[in-house]
């Protein structure tokens, strides 16, 4: 285990009677990395999170989080890990400040330290004016932000966010994702569970795909695309000419050509073929544009589960 690894798990498993919730999960996350965990409902994401937090006991396997074993030393782990559950709950009758003051007391944070961190955290999540307001008056988005402020106050080495944007509107989501990037900038490793694939793709360095309690795929989006879509490089081409699709497919290294309508094509390649494609098209067609397109996580996800379904 390398020195900057903050989450390490090997063979982590959880069984409820005869039901297997999580089976042999291996995971490694480094400081300052954002890792997305994806998968259908019931695929074992939340159970894995709870085991990493020491909130549920694994049936098998080992984990080390922030240098401590969540099973034997859950208090040490929880001192160093911030957790934001989906639809985070607060005590409605208390103010934002009183809610976070309570968790700060549970963290063992001295009053003066809390006061300083609270002011900074609320400013960062845009709730500075609402410090004394009762949480009952908060929207869902504000509650999620308050949950993130709680994590910031903790100054953890790991933040675990379980579907944090599930109930947010697009504007709040954009703001929230920016705050997650802010955590990364602070050097905090972030484990982000979400069903919003575009959001995961926009903030995550790596992704782990869960299915039936296992991590079936993991790596960067480009690596996943290479494995699932058959080409790790996606190039968008805009060109005019006869029978372009066939001609593009003839270029060595091109895996797939998809027409996007008009004169636009999306090409999946197994390497960076921009120069070859440009040469080829310049000779036989009118080349209007050529650029790298990011492979879509949505496509990877959909294709993977379609293939699994067909195989079954």
């Amino acid at each position: 285990m390398a020195g900057d690894v903050v989450i390490w798990a090997e063979g982590l498993a959880k069984r409820y009677g005869s039901t297997i919730a999580v089976e042999r999960v291996d995971l490694e996350i480094r400081a300052g990395e954002i890792v997305g965990i994806l998968g259908p409902n019931g695929s074992g994401k939340t159970t894995t999170i709870l085991m990493l937090l020491g909130l549920t006991e694994p049936s098998a396997g080992r984990a080390v989080v922030a240098g401590f074993d969540p099973l034997r030393e859950p208090l040490e782990v929880k001192r160093r890990v911030g957790y934001l559950p989906d639809q985070v709950g607060f005590y409605d009758w208390l103010s934002a400040r009183d809610n976070l003051a309570y968790t700060a007391r549970l963290m063992g944070l001295p009053r003066r330290e809390f006061d300083a961190r609270f002011a900074v955290a609320l400013e960062r999540v845009g709730l500075a004016e609402w410090a004394r307001a009762r949480v009952a008056t908060f929207s869902r988005g504000m509650r999620q932000r308050l949950g993130l402020a709680e994590i910031m106050i903790k100054e953890p080495s790991v933040a675990i966010l379980d579907e944090p944007t599930a109930t947010l509107d697009p504007h709040s989501t954009r703001e929230f994702l920016a705050m997650i990037r802010g955590l990364k900038a602070d050097g905090t490793a972030v484990l982000l569970s979400s069903h919003h694939l575009d959001q995961v793709q926009s903030v995550c360095d790596r992704v782990a795909l869960f299915a039936r309690g296992r991590i079936v795929l993991s790596g960067s989006v480009t690596e996943l695309a290479r494995r699932v879509l058959g080409g790790g490089y996606v190039i968008d081409v805009e060109a005019r000419g006869a029978d372009l699709r066939t001609r593009l497919l003839a270029v060595p290294g091109v895996v797939r050509v998809q027409s996007l309508g008009g004169d636009r094509y999306r090409i999946d390649c197994d390497s960076d073929l921009r120069a070859e494609l440009a040469r080829h098209l310049a000779a036989s067609a009118e080349l209007l544009g050529l650029r790298f397109a990011e492979p879509s996580l949505n496509e990877v996800y959909t294709r993977y589960f379609d293939e699994v379904r067909h195989a079954a």
Binding site: L55, Q87, T103, E150
Partner: protein
């Protein structure tokens, strides 16, 4: 596998926050107001009678707590016996279920705290709230008696009233533990409240009058035979009725606040030989008389809380 770190880390924060929440919640205040108003009404009604019969008993303050009036047919201890369980249930029914329904449980347990500290902190906060309210009520009634009767309570009276106060807190503790147990089992406030209140009503209204005699008949045979009342049946009824916290509390109140009480339960003529009927029992002997009942209440409270504690430890935390 042994966990590292004290299971009581964070218990102070939980205790402080929960106690503050109890005193800022409207439900508890409504019951406290009801308790104080009715208890004062009962004490005030009793004082009028005591003034007219001031020479009849040396235990004026104990009579203040036990005397029933024609105009107000409830005594102070009747009202406390009814309203304290209600208050305890109000303090405990959403202790754990409320955290689940508000979705605060996983957020709180993600802080450096074990479940042990959370549930024990909540229980102690309920007990502390109950204790503060009852001590306040006890002091107010003594002050009320001092002002209106013009005499201070004697030493024996004070000790007996203190014993009664401790028993009342233990009695409330039993119902607090019951409410918390249902709160853990149902993981939602409404069913927990209904279940705890239903159990309280069963013990208050039906247990001694209907259920205990019926069950005693099944196990010990009919109440009477040709020679008269059957001892086996009477013993069975007594044992069954003492499963009710209400009975145990009633017996404690009887022995402590009516000093002439010499026995709880069946007394044979042979046991009365040499006794001066109506003479007060020394305070220590009254305490010896109620010791099993008081121990029973405390043991019941601890046992029920222990069940809630174990059930909570085994629960899956997802909300």
């Amino acid at each position: 596998m042994r966990r590292r770190g004290s299971p009581w880390t964070g218990i102070g924060a939980v205790l402080f926050k929960e106690t503050a929440d109890h005193f800022s919640g409207w439900l508890v205040w409504i019951i406290v107001a009801l308790l104080f108003l009715t208890a004062f009404a009962a004490a005030y009604a009793a004082i009028n009678t005591i003034r007219q019969t001031i020479g009849e008993s040396p235990f004026l303050f104990l009579r203040l707590l036990t005397l029933r009036q024609d105009q107000f047919r409830w005594s102070f201890i009747d009202l406390v016996g009814i309203l304290v369980p209600l208050m305890a249930i109000a303090l405990g029914f959403d202790a754990v279920g409320g955290e689940f329904s508000r979705r605060t449980m996983s957020r709180i347990l993600a802080q450096p705290i074990y479940r042990d500290a959370l549930i024990l902190g909540k229980f102690l906060a309920g007990l502390l709230t109950l204790g503060i309210c009852l001590v306040a009520l006890w002091l107010l009634v003594i002050g009320f008696g001092l002002v209106l009767l013009g005499v201070p309570p004697g030493g024996a009276e004070t000790v007996r009233m203190l014993g009664f106060l401790v028993a009342t807190i233990a009695y409330g503790g039993v119902w607090l533990a019951v409410a918390m147990l249902f709160s853990v089992l149902f993981r939602a406030p409404a069913p927990a409240f209904i279940a705890a209140a239903a159990l309280w009503l069963v013990f208050l209204l039906f247990w001694n009058a209907d259920i205990a005699p019926l069950v005693a008949t099944l196990f010990a045979g009919p109440p009477q035979d040709i020679f008269g009342p059957r001892l086996a049946y009477i013993d069975a009824v007594q044992a069954l009725t003492r499963l009710s916290p209400h009975t145990l509390y009633g017996e404690i109140a009887l022995a402590l606040l009516h000093p002439s009480t010499r026995a709880l339960g069946l007394v044979f003529l042979s046991q009365l030989q040499g006794a001066i009927l109506g003479a007060p029992l020394p305070t220590l002997e009254s305490f010896l008389l109620i010791w099993p009942q008081l121990a029973g209440l405390v043991a019941g409270m601890i046992a029920i809380f222990a069940i809630a504690y174990v059930a909570f430890q085994r629960q899956e935390i997802r909300a």
